[in-house]
Subunit: 158 residues, 2 copies
């Protein structure tokens, strides 16, 4: 299977990866969640060549994860902001961060601490059930097919 075909798989994980499966893209999103918006700031933070950063940002805009709006003219300069669709990637970024800090810290302790501003606790991100609020983990989840699994394929391919 070629990677291009994976976005068409009837798997929500594969579909997500077709948008954010690139590592630089995830780091762009990380910076966006830290309120970074400007092309030159992304560029200097990530040390990416201009054309690579442009291509990644364009893909995020095309996927409606970010918007691109001018913030000055002559010369025109753009800023990139997360849409609602983009902001809802927060659990992906936070769970990558929590895992990295727990398991990849090289024995030096957390790089980052997170505080939940609603309650003031310094917290570890945990995945919860929207029904009961209880902890969800690898061993208490059952998966079943939804309507999107049995619907006819969208569009036709030549």
């Amino acid at each position: 299977m070629k990677w291009q075909d994976v976005g068409e798989m009837r798997c929500p994980i594969a579909r997500s990866l077709s948008v954010i499966g690139d590592r630089w893209t995830v780091l762009i999103l990380r910076n966006a969640f830290m309120r970074m918006r400007r092309f030159d700031d992304f560029r200097s933070s990530l040390g990416l060549p201009k054309h690579i950063l442009s291509q990644r940002l364009k893909k995020l805009v095309d996927a409606e994860v970010m918007t691109r709006e001018p913030y000055q003219t002559s010369p025109v300069r753009y800023e990139y902001r997360l849409t609602e669709k983009g902001r809802e990637l927060h659990p992906v970024i936070l769970s990558l961060s929590g895992w990295g800090d727990k398991w990849m810290d090289g024995g030096q302790g957390n790089v980052l601490f997170y505080t939940h501003t609603d309650c003031g606790h310094r917290f570890t991100p945990v995945m919860a059930c929207s029904g009961c609020g209880g902890h969800v983990h690898a061993r208490n989840v059952m998966v079943s097919p939804g309507p999107g699994l049995v619907a006819p394929a969208a569009g036709t391919r030549g």
Copy 2:
């Protein structure tokens, strides 16, 4: 910056991506969470060339995300199982799945439904605060530096 250097960044997200930043690796993990264990099953599920799959699995074993154990001799065949470190990637996989099902469903509805076996609810994965259990999202988290950010760099680089 080259990608190889990103794993050494003092960022827990970059460190996580140095292990699971490859898209095929995420799909291998997805299958492992669905109880898949054998090389040939991964291969036929993902349609990957043998050497690519071997290389991805070896990297996961080297990173202690999976173990590799023989399950038969003559010829010897191996199975791959998630370690505790690997099982704790569940929130990453679940959050990718939840986002893909909500935002990338092509109007056809959920591909998958998740049931929390502790309570029986069909649920949407949400990120919660380990302190109060409340919902954590992009706008109620504050980040601050931990000890790993200010510790001396591990090892030396020439």
